[in-house]
Symmetry: C2
Subunit: 240 residues, 2 copies
């Protein structure tokens, strides 16, 4: 938006145009018990009694849009160095019963076994992504949109490692991919596809305390975890 004085603008008062609130909503994914989970909170609006909603908040007047989801993550999970990706902005007039709110959706990949992790509110808890039916607001569509983007990204960019401990076996990694993609994969082809990407480092260590032949342990090659995807916005920051 560059031209503040269009015909449409002049017809309305200045105040009208500051009657839209801006928020962010976070689809916070984690991986537990071989299933993809999402962090939800019990809705406190009576219109959505009994339903859960995503974690979000209004964007502060002095807060960069990008900073808001990091703050939400920090406030809700105690984590500050998380993977976040903007997905889509939802702005239908009637999407929020309390007023006009345009929301930008982000998805996040966190490891809930991380030492810093703690949930700070009783009504917040993890839900399996598969089988989720109805959510408050338009949050089911937001979740579906984020899940689709996650699925599209996961084979191209090394981002799923944000969901795993530092050391993991190929079986654990495959289980995670299957949970995200919702399909079964062939062990041998999966191994090849991943090793050829050169994302992994063989630690020359073995699994322990497993009830079968232990597998090799790997870690993500240093320098990749945070890279994930690079937006034009980020590129510019690097060159300035």
């Amino acid at each position: 938006m560059g031209q503040l004085k269009t015909a449409a603008t002049e017809r309305r008062s200045h105040q009208d145009f500051f009657n839209i609130a801006v928020s962010v909503d976070c689809v916070i994914f984690s991986y537990q018990d071989k299933a993809l989970k999402v962090l939800l909170i019990k809705s406190d609006l009576k219109e959505f009694e009994g339903l859960y909603s995503l974690l979000g908040d209004l964007v502060g007047p002095d807060e960069d849009l990008e900073a808001a989801p990091y703050r939400v993550l920090q406030e809700r999970t105690g984590l500050h160095d998380v993977y976040l990706e903007q997905v889509h902005t939802f702005g239908n007039i009637a999407r929020h019963p309390s007023g006009r709110v345009v929301t930008t959706a982000y998805f996040s990949l966190v490891n809930n076994k991380c030492s810093n992790f703690q949930i700070t509110h009783d009504d917040v808890c993890w839900h399996p992504v598969s089988g989720l039916k109805k959510l408050a607001f338009d949050h089911k569509i937001i979740l579906d949109t984020c899940l689709k983007q996650l699925r599209d990204a996961v084979m191209e960019h090394p981002i799923v490692f944000n969901l795993l401990p530092e050391k993991f076996s190929l079986r654990e990694l495959q289980d995670l991919y299957e949970a995200i993609l919702g399909i079964e994969l062939d062990r041998r082809n999966f191994r090849k596809r991943l090793l050829v990407k050169d994302w992994l480092v063989d630690l020359n260590e073995m699994e322990e305390d497993v009830p079968h032949r232990p597998g090799k342990l790997y870690k993500l090659r240093p320098g990749l975890k945070k890279s994930g995807r690079v937006t034009m916005e980020m590129k510019q920051k690097l060159t300035v």
Copy 2:
């Protein structure tokens, strides 16, 4: 955003949170003289004197976010049935000198030879995308982000046909792809890649008035043009 009463919210007044304006910016692409063009307007802000900016506008209080770019397109080009795709939302505090504005960027593919097309403002004109240096606001980054998304989409989804007349030759189509991607393509492999996608219908007609052997004319297979990409939002509308 679901919970209006977070700790952060309560610390501030209600009015603070309606001090953010919401806008949309359109990266309107067209294809002329074998080059990809973008529609820009001379900036009327003295901070950006001599610079061009994208076409955008504030989102009305009673206007769906998605409706705003269609309105901008309609007002600026006379076109109402255009291809639009949401790309990214930009919301840094200082991105607009006149105040806090969060903007959602869309790209659009239009055919400027369409009968309805007309530019309604003298300061609006087409610029070649390649070679563009500086734009007003953060519009260069917005443009780059949209161009990247266009490039990523163009081989997977039949969207470029929005830039062409109804009938076209494979050479014209290839020239367009080369202009978008910024690379040269092999004629024979390009032909195969496209024909196997089953996007095209052979019209059994030939080019006319060309100074060489005329090529066959094709059109897009009916029912594909508008489909392009389908978002979760759109899917929901279809099933409701």
